[in-house]
């Protein structure tokens, strides 16, 4: 009698082993990304001083005052040779110190990043979750009804939404809900008149302001889910064990659960990738809806030539993607017993 692998303990070991591997690879990845971003970013031409000066002048500051404001900023410019700067940067990074922001002098990049990150992370996650739920439910439906008109419609609409870039959706939604029927705010996070905290007014305001970004994120990824889920369900439907369950007289509800769980599994890898894509999309969506997240911050830091902030944002987005990948894989490991016991992946 053969029993290869005892589930319990070897499972934990497998998860730990995978995690260790991921972390090692993630670290290398981060090293590479930081080096690349460092090299690119430090080579960006453009004089932040002059830009700042002209901007201030244009805004009505007197030339002297503008010059004064700009001079002060010089203190925050990195100095030394490229190699020294790189070493400094890496040393700082090891201490989790991302350096000082230039646009908000005197403030650590990590502080700026963290305050921006939540405005990206929460809507992105909310949008993803929303679209994931709706997408997989409709995906199952589209798979079951794949011969009918409705299934067709769902699939085509899915492909279309999947294919359309986020900014097109954002612009369309914006045109509809802020221009044609102006019922939603076009920017910001919440009305300042509400005391932040757990009160209906504040939360309501938060939700209202987040609606357009979240809906855009959701719509943008919904198509992908519906397509992925549909094809996954179609695959699982063709799997023998579904027919076997049917032939054993299993209840529809149970069979449905079998289908759903097995079909969702491969979607976890896509989930990780899609998070990465959404972070990219955040740049457009936040720019269009003036939502103060990482994307907007990245644009600002680029126009302001805020090297440290730019590098930090870049790093943060990359790290988020790496973490999402790891999380998806671990989730996969936990859910799929085949991977868990160190055997073959599905």
């Amino acid at each position: 009698m053969t029993l290869i692998g005892v589930p319990g303990r070897s499972g934990v070991i497998a998860v730990a082993r995978r995690l260790a591997g991921h972390l090692a690879r993630g670290l290398v990845m981060i090293l590479v990304v930081t080096t690349i971003s460092f090299l690119i970013i430090r080579n960006i031409p453009g004089d932040p001083m002059a830009a700042k000066y002209e901007k201030l002048v244009e805004q009505g500051m007197s030339p002297e005052a503008a010059q004064q404001a700009v001079n002060v900023l010089y203190g925050f410019m990195p100095t030394g040779s490229m190699w020294e700067q790189y070493l400094d940067y890496m040393k700082g990074l090891a201490r989790l110190d991302l350096g000082q922001s230039l646009t908000v002098p005197g403030t650590g990049v990590s502080t700026v990043l963290m305050s921006a990150a939540k405005w990206t992370l929460i809507p992105v996650l909310a949008g993803t979750l929303l679209s994931f739920l709706v997408g997989i439910i409709l995906g199952v439906y589209a798979a079951i009804k794949r011969q009918g008109k409705l299934g067709d419609l769902l699939a085509i609409s899915g492909s279309l939404l999947h294919g359309v870039p986020q900014y097109v959706l954002a612009l369309l939604l914006g045109a509809i809900f802020t221009t044609l029927i102006p019922i939603l705010p076009a920017g910001g996070t919440a009305d300042i008149m509400f005391e932040p905290g757990f009160n209906a007014g504040y939360i309501g305001s938060l939700v209202q302001h987040a609606t357009l970004p979240v809906v855009t994120y959701a719509l943008a990824s919904y198509g992908g889910w519906i397509l992925a889920m549909k094809s996954s369900v179609v695959t699982v439907l063709g799997d023998d064990f579904i027919l076997a369950a049917e032939l054993r007289g299993m209840k529809r509800s149970i069979i449905f659960r079998y289908i759903a769980r097995n079909a969702i599994l491969p979607l976890f890898t896509i989930l990780a990738l899609s998070l990465g894509l959404l972070f990219g999309g955040a740049i457009f969506i936040e720019r269009i809806f003036n939502y103060p997240g990482l994307g907007l911050m990245l644009i600002d830091s680029i126009t302001g030539r805020d090297y440290a902030l730019m590098g930090g944002a870049f790093l943060l987005i990359t790290v988020a993607i790496i973490i999402a990948n790891i999380a998806a894989d671990l989730l996969y490991t936990v859910i799929d017993p085949r991977v868990r016991s160190g055997g073959e992946a599905a």
Binding site: A51, Q59, S115, P182
Partner: protein, 583 residues
């Protein structure tokens, strides 16, 4: 949509909603520090200066009271004596005293402003700060290189509470400052020490807002900041709104939306397309107040590049550009087509030049004159297209930074006009403004859009045309000229110009004189420089900006009128002066 009815709604005075044009992009991470560019102190509201500049056409030294209730200026500009508001208190109850002013000046030194510069020989720097009594401070100018704008530099200083900020500078600061004056290693070291303080000062972040202004900062989020009335403010009785809501903006279109929804009681100008302007006008209560703004936009030439070194080419181009049409397309509300090119905004130009203005060449659209000029420059027209003297094709490329939509539209309009006249023209945009400016000053562009006429002091105005970007630098009162392509000289005008009716002039030297010359002489110099700019055309002025403020009279009244000299100050200044009243 969300109206500000929730939360702690204001009683009586109401909530005044506006945008701080000086600080676009509120940042929740910014310290409560007026010197920090992202600091959460807002001029006129919770950040106070000694006085508030009037937007006078020609006189830079006129102010409204701020921390200083009044001031006496020595006739030769050698000193200014400030008399502080007698009953002014900080929001925490402590009185505002001369000590506060002195410490604030110390802080200003670390930031290296014009009046408080530590660079030896800097024009218009203060030499001494003296506490006369608890409420009187005297500041003297170093008369070795005086400037007419010394007083302006002093008055334009922030004042912060000494009891909060005292640790930001060392106790021996004033000794250090003294040591920094003069020559030698000792002085050098002292200067370095003071400069090194700048970062610390800039990053200084008080735990809470202690203000001598009409408001203190209550809370903020990435989109908005909420200010509440400071009961201790000297003029609190006359401060109308109880609360002020400052909205963040990252794109102009946000302001348009706020305006259309009637949310804003006041907003400074942003480029507004005509249709949006119409919609804004339709919102009940919305009104536009217009006044003078000392800025113009121009096409600037790089005279190191052919054929722009030839004045006839520049003139020919000036005749071909229809400035009225360009302005209509690009900035119908925010600008008025430049009457001509003088380097000065048309309003102060009238004040400085008077009747002489009409004698200058207006460069109205005139194809025939343009052809004449081009021919004079040796250009040839073949097959309806102008070519260079050597028969090579002439491609007129104009550069603009991509994010400035009005400039992009304007450049597009200019090239369309030129193309119609047979000059092959195209627009090139640069990804962003920093890059644009770097490339512009590196001499990479033939022609680019550029802000000029930055007043009101005539020295500032002409320094733009005949200053560092054109090769002239003012070092300790001495004017030097560098060759084109060197030391930031990207415009490349000749050092001397033969101006019709004036003779040979060195515009850089003339400009330098503007800094200290008495008013009568200033007028004469301005006239000469205006003629030079008009004939030699280092730039072609396109439109003069108009300071356009949006106000909404539904909730509040008492906004400045058209042409008010307060229009360049924030509505915080209007409020603290007691103008804004609840309806």
């Amino acid at each position: 949509s969300s109206t500000s009815t929730g939360g702690k709604s204001a009683s009586g005075g109401g909530v005044y909603t506006t945008i701080d044009g000086l600080k676009p992009g509120l940042d929740v991470n910014g310290p409560i520090n007026p010197w920090n560019p992202k600091g959460n102190m807002f001029q006129g509201y919770n950040a106070m200066k000694l006085g508030w500049k009037k937007n006078h056409l020609t006189d830079p030294n006129q102010f409204y009271p701020g921390i200083a209730a009044s001031w006496d200026i020595a006739p030769d500009n050698s000193s200014i004596t400030l008399h502080l508001q007698p009953n002014n208190k900080w929001s925490d109850g402590k009185p505002v005293t001369a000590e506060d002013v002195k410490l604030s000046i110390a802080l200003a030194y670390t930031q290296g402003s014009t009046a408080f510069a530590i660079t030896p020989g800097a024009a218009g720097a203060a030499s001494e700060v003296e506490i006369v009594d608890d409420h009187t401070v005297k500041i003297s100018q170093d008369m070795s290189n005086p400037s007419v704008t010394f007083v302006r530099g002093v008055m334009d200083s922030f004042v912060v509470p000494a009891h909060i900020w005292k640790d930001a500078v060392p106790a021996d600061f004033w000794d250090k400052l003294k040591a920094s004056r003069g020559e030698g290693a000792e002085a050098e070291k002292a200067r370095a020490e003071i400069t090194a303080l700048s970062e610390k000062v800039l990053a200084f972040a008080p735990a809470k807002d202690v203000s001598a202004g009409p408001y203190t900062l209550e809370r903020m989020n990435p989109g908005e900041a909420l200010l509440v009335k400071n009961k201790n403010f000297y003029n609190a009785a006359n401060v109308g709104p109880d609360q002020v809501k400052l909205l963040n903006y990252t794109g102009n279109e946000q302001i348009w939306n706020y305006l259309i929804s009637g949310k804003l009681d006041n907003a400074p100008f942003t480029a507004v397309p005509a249709d949006v302007m119409k919609r804004i006008g339709q919102t009940p209560g919305n009104a536009v107040v217009k006044g003078f703004s000392p800025v113009s936009v121009a096409m600037a030439f790089n005279q190191s590049k052919k054929p722009y070194d030839n004045v006839h080419v520049r003139r020919g181009l000036a005749y071909l550009v229809n400035r009225d049409e360009v302005t209509k397309i690009a900035s119908p509300e925010g600008g008025t087509p430049a009457l001509t090119t003088t380097g000065i905004h048309q309003k102060p130009a009238e004040a400085w030049l008077g009747g002489e203005l009409s004698q200058l060449e207006p460069y109205k659209l005139d194809v025939a004159k343009a052809e004449k000029e081009f021919k004079e420059a040796g250009l040839k027209k073949t097959g309806g297209k102008w070519t260079l003297p050597d028969g090579k094709p002439w491609k007129f490329t104009i550069n603009v930074p991509a994010p400035f939509s009005d400039w992009v539209s304007a450049a597009k309009a200019v090239t369309s006009q030129l193309n119609e006249a047979g000059v092959s023209a195209e627009v090139l945009t640069t990804a962003d403004y920093p890059l644009y400016l770097e490339e512009l000053s590196a001499g990479k562009y033939d022609v680019g859009f550029w802000l000029v006429a930055l007043g009101p002091a005539p020295y500032n105005i002409y320094q733009r045309l005949y200053g560092a970007s054109n090769g002239w630098t003012n070092l300790g009162g001495k004017i030097k000229h560098s060759a084109p392509g060197k030391d930031g000289n990207w415009m490349g005008s000749p050092e001397t110009i033969d101006v019709e009716g004036v003779g040979k002039v060195n515009p850089g030297e003339l400009t330098g004189k503007l800094n200290s010359a008495p008013e009568a002489e200033q007028k004469q110099i301005v006239s000469q420089l205006a003629k030079a700019a008009n004939q030699d055309l280092p730039v072609i002025q396109l439109w003069d900006y108009v300071n356009t403020q949006f106000v909404n009279t539904n909730r509040f009244t008492g906004f400045p009128e058209n042409e008010s000299d307060l229009l360049r100050e924030t509505s915080g200044v209007w409020i603290q002066l007691g103008m804004i009243k609840k309806k």
